[in-house]
């Protein structure tokens, strides 16, 4: 193992690890209850909005031709992006055997699952006839009709579907041994529940033998997946001929953005959570420092991508492209354009300084900026590009309404609700992986060969 890792190896004994993590379950702390309450309230706002959308139609939202996609798709892409950091940390860093992922990966993985769950709602929310969304699935029907596999939207359906399934599986598989550990600590009805969830795990050598191997392959599969999913999402735009969408760098650009926003969200979630659940000694500056470095990397990639978009627009000599990008910076939506550039390209550069990378308060504030910035990135790409298309006479600028914000708020509520409930019910820190890092006691003195 590398030096850093050795220095930051957890200091507790196996027994302490189990104790501390099990202690987080079923927390009653006020902070937690408040957060949960807020989340549910937000969710209800969204639910109500959705009911009204079903009743009266999407006209309630601020849609304005030619801006036929707006806040909903923006939020969709935003949540898909959030998911990516989780898989990156849990799968890719697992393959790279990087030690600092251990303490945080369970939380980020949960974040992934719930973020993708949230994103998965939007294709349904945003279509005009929500009640026939299943027509997008290839199922045998009396009409003999199949969906159009040439449509990027169908790629989306498959990509998001796969991503949700795989990341959920990955999370559950990782959870089983920990649930078993919890099972053996708790009593009463909770024991029954956990027994059920632990799928008869005993930690026998045979189970471990297949488990470790299988987990490795899951990680190996999740890695290309995480790269593909946001590429596919980016192709929803890149495959079209809308000036401002029609870009070849979209796939890497979006993937970087996704991870950037995802890590941002990890900060936003973990910083309060570790306080509420008293995990400060398990999730430490050391972890945030590394996460921040990741943010710096992806943020810089975004910086490059933004610059490159403008360069290509200018260099291509295509009038429509040039107009679109000019208007992004100086058009009616200049404020959104600059929000995105400042929050993403510039703010991320602060992480060159270790002082900031390890200052929890600073990290939290910056992470908020990152979330805002990344939401606006999608907003700008979608709304401002559509608003200034090929035919000037048909131009139009969006003005969102309560229905847009209602759904946006609801999506946050929906996500946080699940995340908080998860944190309360399952080990938010991976017990067995931490134990794996802690050397077991030996009767003979001296390390093992």
């Amino acid at each position: 193992m590398t030096a850093i890792a050795t220095d930051n190896r957890p200091t507790q004994t196996h027994a302490e690890v189990t104790r501390d993590v099990v202690a987080t379950l079923g927390t009653q702390s006020r902070g937690y209850t408040l957060m949960l309450f807020g989340a549910v309230a937000l969710f209800l706002v969204g639910a109500l909005t959705f009911v009204l959308l079903l009743k009266d139609g999407l006209g309630l939202a601020g849609y304005k031709s030619p801006v036929m996609w707006s806040v909903y798709i923006t939020t969709f892409v935003f949540w898909v992006g959030i998911g990516h950091a989780g898989t990156l940390i849990s799968a890719i860093l697992f393959l790279f055997r990087s030690p600092w992922r251990t303490a945080v990966y369970r939380a980020t993985e949960a974040m992934t699952v719930f973020a993708v769950m949230t994103a998965g709602l939007f294709p349904i929310i945003h279509i005009g006839r929500q009640w026939v969304f299943y027509w997008l699935l290839p199922y045998p029907n009396q009409r003999f009709l199949w969906p159009n596999f040439k449509s990027p939207l169908l790629w989306d359906v498959f990509a998001i579907g796969t991503y949700l399934t795989v990341s959920t599986t990955f999370l559950v598989v990782g959870l089983v041994p920990d649930i078993a550990a919890v099972r053996d600590k708790v009593t009463g009805w909770r024991k029954k529940v956990y027994t059920l969830c632990s799928l008869g795990w005993t930690g026998s050598d045979n189970q471990w033998r297949h488990y470790t191997r299988g987990y490795l392959y899951l990680a190996a599969l999740a890695t290309p997946l995480v790269l593909s999913v946001h590429s596919v999402v980016s192709w929803d735009f890149a495959m079209s001929i809308v000036p401002g969408w029609h870009g070849t760098i979209f796939a890497p650009y979006f993937v970087a953005g996704a991870i950037y926003s995802g890590v941002g969200m990890v900060f936003t979630l973990l910083i309060p959570l570790r306080k509420v659940l008293h995990l400060e000694h398990m999730i430490t500056e050391y972890h945030f420092d590394n996460l921040a470095k990741l943010t710096l990397l992806t943020g810089s990639i975004l910086f490059y991508a933004y610059a490159m978009e403008y360069f290509v627009a200018w260099y291509s000599g295509v009038a429509a492209e040039q107009t679109t990008f000019y208007l992004r910076a100086f058009g009616p939506m200049w404020w959104a354009g600059w929000t995105m550039i400042i929050c993403n390209a510039f703010v991320s550069q602060l992480f060159w300084f270790k002082k900031i990378r390890t200052n929890i308060a600073a990290l939290f504030v910056i992470s908020i900026f990152i979330n805002i910035g990344m939401w606006f990135e999608r907003y700008v790409i979608i709304v401002s590009s559509l608003g200034n298309d090929h035919l000037p006479f048909a131009w139009g600028q969006l003005d969102p309404t309560w229905a847009d914000w209602g759904i946006l708020a609801g999506s946050f509520g929906w996500f946080l609700m699940y995340f908080l409930l998860f944190a309360r019910t399952f080990p938010i820190v991976a017990i067995q992986e931490i134990k794996e890092m802690i050397p077991m006691p030996r009767k003979r003195a001296g390390g093992h060969h």
Partner: protein, 1001 residues
């Protein structure tokens, strides 16, 4: 009565009852269920079978349009015995097969939700109660009986049997009949009287002219017969094999007519007379072969120099000379007398233009006096009636087919004077501004529900017949008059016709007799079938100058008040004199110039706006000595900096839900005080006050500039004559790929297409395509309404238009050119509908194949498959896909509007995308017909609604695979180009670049 005569009396009334709402073809609200799957539960058959009514098959009737005095002939399409579309009658010399937006919107008058359910009586407390027709007629008869000779009738009906009956009726009573139409050409007729000694309106042969000069006269909008003028204009000004007339427009505002001019010169309001005279002077002094008696004018004209005219008009002297010379060197035509420039000197202006025409030898050539154009009695007559009313000398006032309370300035106090009448009767079928002051309202039947005829032009006697059962319990005013006559007896006993239909037939039997037609029934059936009698127009009278011609002169017209701006109200090409204001199709059809819908607005020149620091959408208050109004600003380069312009037609106090309280009535700022028997619209000065309130304009215009994207192409006349392509005009298209790359790309494309020979795509298919000739298109927007009517397009209302959600499948894009740093300001229009691209970008992105390509080259949209992802809308570079954000049909089609819906077209449900289908229902219908007759489809057998309606014939539709088809040949034209060609989407619509004169001099 014997059964036989009974057949005679009421032919077809009961053969024309339409199926009740549950009909086989799903009439009415049931039709709204459109894309959803609710079904009709009851089947209601016709009571009596009818040979010319097969359910599911359209029946056509000939009739005549009454939306303006032009008298265009109609073909009315009925399905299941309800009128669903109005089209032009090809036999008519006036409108040919075409029809303007207003005419087509007549249907929404027929099915207007505001129509009265029956006669109404006003009680003492001013509220109205429903009464029966018997009561109503008894009441009227009693009033008339006791009124003696103090019965006065105010009628807007055109010349025809009804007016004749009215004349007899009033005459018998010894009362007076005032025939009043708001835009009555009083000034023009007075000028003709003065200059030529005859007070009628001539025919203007726009089609024959090589040079058209308009003095602020909107002959493409509301002046004379719009459709007739436009057809002529397209004939001469539409570029064809090396020929194109030049059109110069002098006026303080660039209206639609000005937009179609090769040159527009913003002249000072009221200066037209002197400019015309100066031109006449130039021509006469430089030209030998002028009409003999024109010489006598030399002395008079000598006084009017281009320099003087230049001072008055702001038009450069050399420009005046140049235009005069061009005018004289072509077969030319000058027109004046437009409502928009009807100032106090209007008679002088028209007289001056008469002189100009005369000295150029146009009179008898392009200006032909046939005495065929009937006119009403003019504004003067209305004024005298008003004074009669004021003096309380009117016992009974009957207002028919007129709305003076709205069309006469409030300053004249006509409403108050009308209140002094003993008893006021209105025959309006909708509670309009005037009817809502009447004691008795006897709703007339709509022109499509009653018998009538018109004599709108020389040689034209147009018939109207009931094409369906009345939608509401109205009664033809003709019948009412006759019934009153029967009841009153006495002086009226002479009018003994049992019904107006009988009266009409009596008169037509005289016509038959006069033509030596013995069998009247045959003659009548022919006439009904043809829509009347269309005879060769008589040769024009030989017209010479009258003595009055020497009395021509010019003095600066006076304007009331000392405001800094001249206030220029102008008639809206959609709302006409305001009668269009209760028809959503017209309210939502964007104004061709400003592209604003549903609202009133104030036009300001950019410089004016800058100096006042007001922006578009800011509500300003205009104040004149006669009143004030508040409306949002629209900044428009095409208006004289010293002028603020506002359209007429809105600001109704009553007139149904769509019109009431909407917008402002520009006449509130104008006085009724006039010079000579006409209403001087252009007679007030206004001061402009900012309110710092803002109102979003309901306009369909995004960005009015093309940004060099080559959307609406145009080329100089010279280039067109040399057969250049638009690309060449731009200095040639530069190919970025190498020779071999181009080949490779093409080859690859071919390879792809060869793989498409599967399923329904095997074998030969037509490839439907369209050609739009921008040299002919004027932007009049008749096609837009045609599309609404044919395709059940819902109107969405002001608020939704503000949010850019209008559903108009056919969009007339209007782009501004130049106008900055000194260069001339001009506009271009381009009709934008689905281009049915062969490589349609909207198709592959649809996840459910709702958007796909048919074997016959259509870009189809399957509404019931659409889930509403709107990806197609995003990916359409032409932005011609429209989305049902809300359930517009259910929200907006109030009873009985749904009766108009076309049963062959699905009504789209909420949440689905829709767009132009190239009228696929017409294509499929024609294909079915051909298949039933085992024959191939012929070129021209099927055309789209827009192409059918277009008065300019600017749109050609057909099969591009058929080399002989008109469309295939037109697409070969050197002016042809595709919009956004670089995207390689391969549109099926080819545009022919506009051609502009200019630069020749």
């Amino acid at each position: 009565m014997s059964k036989e005569t009974n057949e005679e009396q009421r032919p077809g009334i009961d053969r024309r009852q339409f199926l009740t709402v549950a009909g086989v073809a799903g009439v009415g609200t049931a039709a709204l269920s459109g894309c959803s799957t609710d079904r009709i539960e009851k089947l209601v058959p016709y009571m009596v079978g009818d040979e010319d009514h097969v359910p599911g098959v359209a029946t056509w009737y000939a009739s005549t349009c009454t939306e303006c005095p032009a008298g265009c002939s109609l073909h009315v399409k009925t399905r299941e015995a309800r009128a669903i579309k109005l089209e032009g009658n090809p036999d008519s010399p006036i409108n040919g097969g075409s029809l303007c937006a207003r005419g087509q919107a007549g249907l929404q008058g027929l099915y207007n939700p505001g129509r009265l359910l029956g006669p109404k009586r006003r009680d003492a407390d001013g509220s109205y109660r429903d009464i029966t027709w018997e009561e109503a007629i008894a009441e009227l008869a009693a009033q008339v009986g006791s009124a003696g000779s103090d019965v006065h009738v105010l009628s807007g009906a055109g010349a025809g049997s009804f007016t004749d009956l009215l004349t007899e009726w009033v005459g018998a009573l010894g009362g007076s009949l005032v025939r009043y139409q708001p835009f009555d050409n009083e000034a023009l007729r007075a000028a003709n009287q003065q200059v030529f000694g005859r007070g009628d309106v001539p025919d203007f042969a726009f089609g024959k002219a090589g040079f058209i000069l308009s003095f602020g006269t909107d002959f493409l909008e509301t002046w004379q017969g719009q459709v007739e003028n436009q057809r002529g204009f397209a004939e001469s000004h539409g570029y064809h094999d090396g020929h194109m007339a030049k059109h110069v427009y002098l006026g303080h505002r660039m209206d639609l007519t000005g937009m179609n001019a090769d040159e527009w010169h913003p002249t000072h309001p009221g200066s037209d007379a002197v400019v015309a005279l100066a031109m006449a002077n130039v021509i006469l002094s430089e030209r030998e072969r002028a009409p003999a008696d024109a010489g006598t004018l030399r002395s008079v004209l000598a006084a009017f120099t281009p320099e003087q005219a230049s001072q008055e008009s702001g038009l450069a002297p050399e420009a005046i000379r140049r235009i005069a010379r061009e005018f004289a060197s072509h077969k030319s035509l000058a027109v004046a007398g437009g409502i928009g420039s009807q100032h106090r000197g209007a008679v002088e202006a028209c007289a001056a233009v008469n002189i100009l025409n005369y000295v150029s030898g146009n009179v008898g050539d392009t200006v032909v006096f046939r005495g065929g154009r009937p006119a009403a009695d003019g504004y003067g007559a209305l004024e005298s009636l008003a004074s009669e009313l004021d003096a309380g000398r009117v016992a009974v006032l009957i207002v028919h087919d007129a709305n003076p309370v709205h069309t006469v300035p409030a300053a004249t106090g006509f409403a108050d004077k009308m209140a002094k009448a003993g008893f006021t009767v209105s025959t309006a079928s909708v509670m309009d501004d005037t009817a809502s002051q009447a004691d008795l309202v006897l709703p007339n039947l709509h022109a499509l529900e009653r018998w009538d005829d018109l004599r709108p032009a020389a040689g034209v006697q147009a018939l109207m017949q009931p094409v369906m059962m009345p939608v509401r319990d109205g009664r033809a005013t003709g019948d009412v008059l006759l019934e009153v006559a029967r009841t009153v007896g006495g002086p009226l006993s002479g009018l003994d016709a049992p019904s107006f239909e009988a009266y009409l037939k009596q008169r037509w039997s005289n016509i038959a007799a006069a033509r030596g037609r013995t069998d009247f029934r045959v003659f009548w059936q022919e006439a009904l079938g043809n829509g009347g009698l269309f005879d060769e127009a008589a040769p024009g009278a030989d017209v010479r100058l009258a003595d009055g011609a020497r009395r021509i002169g010019f003095q600066r017209p006076t304007f009331d008040g000392d405001g800094e701006f001249v206030f220029a109200p102008y008639p809206s090409s959609m709302l006409y004199d305001g009668r269009g204001a209760n028809k959503p199709w017209l309210l939502e059809n964007p104004d061709p110039v400003t592209k604003i819908t549903w609202q009133s607005w104030v036009e300001l020149h950019p410089d004016t706006a800058a100096s006042l620091d007001v922006r578009e959408g800011e509500v300003v208050r205009l104040e004149s000595p006669h009143g004030s109004l508040e409306a949002p600003v629209y900044v428009y380069q095409g208006v004289h900096p010293g002028v603020v312009a506002t359209p007429l037609g809105l600001g109704h106090t009553a007139y149904g839900q769509y019109a009431e309280g909407r917008g402002v009535n520009a006449l509130d700022l104008v006085s009724g005080e006039d010079g000579a028997g006409f209403l001087p619209y252009l007679s007030a000065r206004v001061t402009l006050h900012k309110t710092r309130r803002y109102q979003k304009l309901a306009k369909t215009e995004g960005n009015p500039r093309q940004l060099g994207r080559g959307i609406a192409e145009a080329m100089p006349f010279a280039a067109a004559v040399q057969g250049q392509t638009p690309a060449e005009v731009h200095g040639g298209h530069h190919e970025v790929n190498t020779e071999r790359e181009v080949e490779a790309i093409a080859g690859w494309g071919e390879a792809q297409r060869e793989r498409l020979d599967k399923g329904d795509y095997q074998g030969e298919h037509p490839n439907w395509g369209m050609v739009v000739d921008l040299a002919r298109c004027t932007g009049c927007s008749a096609c837009v309404t045609a599309c609404y009517a044919e395709n059940n397009i819902p109107f969405v209302g002001e608020q939704e238009v503000v949010r850019g959600r209008e559903m108009s499948w056919m969009r007339i894009e209007r782009y501004f050119e130049g106008g900055e740093d000194g260069e001339g300001f001009s506009t271009r229009v381009v009709p934008m509908m689905c281009q049915h691209c062969d490589n349609a970008p909207c198709e592959p992105v649809c996840p459910v194949f709702a958007a796909y390509h048919t074997p016959d080259g259509l870009n189809a949209q399957v509404y019931n498959r659409c889930v509403g992802t709107r990806y197609c809308g995003n990916n359409c570079p032409y932005k011609v896909r429209y989305y049902n954000w809300l359930a517009y049909p259910k929200l907006n089609f109030e009873e009985p509007l749904p009766l108009q819906l076309n049963p062959d077209v699905t009504v789209r449900a909420r949440g689905v995308m829709e767009k132009c289908t190239f009228c696929i229902q017409r294509i499929r219908g024609a294909q079915h017909q051909a298949a039933m007759e085992d024959r191939p489809l012929q070129d021209g057998e099927v055309t789209t609604a827009c192409a059918q309606a277009c008065p300019s014939g600017a749109i050609i539709f057909g099969d591009q695979h058929d080399p002989g088809s008109r469309v295939a040949q037109a697409a070969e034209d050197h002016r042809g180009y595709h919009i956004l060609e670089d995207l390689n989407v391969r549109p099926s619509v080819t545009y022919l670049a506009k051609v502009q004169h200019g630069g020749e001099h």
